[in-house]
């Protein structure tokens, strides 16, 4: 979808990546999942967080990633790392150890409690669609201090309840993580889409709508969401991308549209 013409022209999926990158602060230790999280993290690294510690589950610690890796085992994601170690180093020694400021993941389904499904659509034992599975996503959502989720906003991707919970959000409400025995403190969870930004209201353990993308109405979000997010008294608008953010994204992060294809919406 095209955003209203204010300043330069941009697509909302571009702004989704830009907005997600803004949640990464300089110096953060970020465990980065495959796909869109890699693009948004790379943008943060180039734009405003040159000292972020990019960690990839293959064992890659603090690389100066070059464009545009297609996989977590791509040499581009390992460029000038301070260490190329093991999966246990990254997901055990950094993440489960409690050092990750941000775990950044995608997913096929995200429900009202911010649980994520990347395993199956339909029944687990005889799925309608079998998806790749957890990978490191469950670990990221279990152990990071803050969880960042990025996804295109479609009704089928935002059901009331995931068909299968691969990665824990607040499970079934405010006490969900506590009952399950997940590590404390419980994380902030932020979901950035091409229509809106939602985050977990810890008091109720459910997603609240925080911001709308420019030109997107509340009813548009409603039509494309399978549950009713909590509504604040006033909904803010996502800041449009700066010239610099757009240029970096288009020219230095994903110039060949490996992740963001025009028309692929």
């Amino acid at each position: 979808m095209r955003a209203p013409k204010m300043g330069s022209w941009y697509r909302l999926d571009e702004l989704m990546v830009v907005e997600a990158s803004r949640y990464i602060a300089d110096g953060d230790i970020v465990i980065v999942g495959t796909g869109m999280p890699m693009v948004a993290s790379l943008l943060a690294l180039k734009n405003h967080a040159p000292n972020m510690c990019f960690v990839v589950e293959t064992g890659t610690i603090a690389p100066q990633v070059i464009r545009t890796p297609v996989s977590v085992s791509d040499a581009r994601v390992m460029y000038r790392a301070v260490r190329l170690g093991s999966l246990l180093d990254a997901l055990g020694g950094v993440l489960q150890r409690g050092l990750a400021d941000i775990g950044f993941l995608g997913g096929a389904q995200i429900d009202q409690f911010a649980n994520v499904n990347s395993t199956v659509i339909g029944d687990y034992s005889r799925p309608k669609v079998r998806l790749p599975g957890s990978g490191g996503a469950n670990d990221l959502a279990s152990h990071a201090k803050k969880v960042l989720i990025i996804s295109r906003h479609e009704r089928r991707r935002f059901p009331e309840r995931c068909d299968y919970i691969t990665s824990p959000g607040y499970i079934d409400g405010p006490e969900g993580r506590k009952k399950a025995g997940l590590p404390v403190p419980y994380p902030d969870i932020i979901v950035v889409t091409d229509l809106a930004v939602m985050s977990i209201d810890k008091a109720v353990g459910r997603l609240r709508l925080d911001k709308l993308m420019p030109g997107v109405s509340l009813s548009k979000v409603g039509e494309n969401t399978g549950f009713e997010p909590l509504l604040p008294s006033e909904t803010a608008s996502v800041d449009p991308p700066s010239e610099r953010e757009l240029r970096l994204l288009r020219e230095e992060v994903d110039p060949h549209n490996v992740y963001l294809k025009a028309g692929d919406q």
Binding site: T58, D74, S86, S125, N138, S142
Partner: protein, 307 residues
């Protein structure tokens, strides 16, 4: 006779014949587009070794080919995936059609299971998986895939215990090895150090065979000492069409062609197996047919430009 001594250099065909038995649990090295042990997998497919249980973390085209060739009865892993190049389509179809048993874990959970095996322990505690369907949904049989216990030092805090995983044999592609079986993995090692040390037997294919003197002069570079290794297969380009860090880039067009045919299934897929695997006696023949010297040197140049 000490443990696993002597010269271990042999061909892929010999190594697979000696160490991969029907019904074996096979540890799979590499990750997505990186360092998958393709030469060894081609050999397993040519020898038609059946009823395999494949275990690993991020399993990719090497696993998908064995599933597509009808050799696999079960997988235990964190994911089946080629990331930006798509999912593992033969694996996906086999699960959707009920032809394959699967047990899901997270990557850290799988690495923890290998770690337990590598330390000679029965299980490893974990704080992943809690509250999710990876624990809640029934797996394929009645074997207990995990246990929940109370932290003895913090009453009321649940901890997951994951059973040790000790593959019968693991297959790994590395950059360097010597004839004794000392192995140097350069770059990322993913779950391989733990998996290899937990395995009954280990086959390592390598880009280069180095002198044991070279190993002894620089022993802190040894990722895996010979004690764990049974067979060393010298196979340059042995991970093609996936990459080998410092040696060559993955071959994206070949992978995309595989993905297209794996997704289509049926004849298109059988043609891939016929053309690229059954049609050749050795992996070198495959490299000549599928890539050729010029293409391989391009892939080497690309990798060198990324270092």
């Amino acid at each position: 006779m000490g443990r696993k001594t002597g010269n271990k250099v042999m061909t892929a065909a010999e190594a697979v014949e000696r160490f991969v038995a029907e019904g074996a649990t096979v540890g799979i090295g590499g990750q997505t587009i990186g360092r998958c042990s393709m030469a060894l997998v081609h050999e397993i497919v040519r020898q038609g070794i059946k009823d395999l249980v494949l275990v690993g973390c991020s399993m990719s085209i090497s696993m998908d080919i064995m599933v597509g060739a009808g050799l696999v009865k079960r997988t235990e892993c964190g994911t089946g995936n080629l990331e930006r190049l798509g999912t593992t389509f033969q694996w996906r179809a086999a699960i959707e059609e009920g032809r394959l048993e699967v047990e899901d874990y997270s990557h850290l959970a799988m690495a923890s299971r290998f770690l337990a095996g590598s330390l000679g322990l029965p299980f490893m505690p974990s704080k992943s998986l809690l509250g999710t369907d990876i624990l809640n949904k029934k797996s394929f049989d009645d074997r207990k895939p995990f246990a929940l216990v109370d932290n003895p030092w913090n009453e009321g805090e649940p901890v997951v215990l994951l059973p040790a995983l000790t593959p019968d044999v693991s297959i790994v592609h590395a950059q360097k090895a010597d004839s004794m079986g000392n192995v140097i993995i350069e770059g990322f090692t993913t779950h391989e150090p733990e998996m290899v040390k937990a395995s009954g037997s280990v086959i390592v294919s390598c880009e280069e065979l180095v002198d044991t003197d070279t190993i002894r002069r620089d022993p802190d570079r040894t990722t895996i000492p010979y004690l764990f290794v049974d067979a060393v297969v010298l196979q340059p380009w042995g991970a093609y069409p996936t990459s080998t860090f410092r040696y060559y880039e993955h071959d994206e067009p070949h992978l995309r062609d595989y993905q297209e045919r794996a997704r289509a299934g049926g004849d298109a897929y059988q043609e891939y197996l016929q053309q690229h695997i059954f049609g050749h006696a050795t992996f070198d023949d495959f490299l000549k047919e599928a890539a050729g010297a010029d293409r391989l040197s391009e892939l080497r140049d690309t990798m060198l430009s990324l270092l």
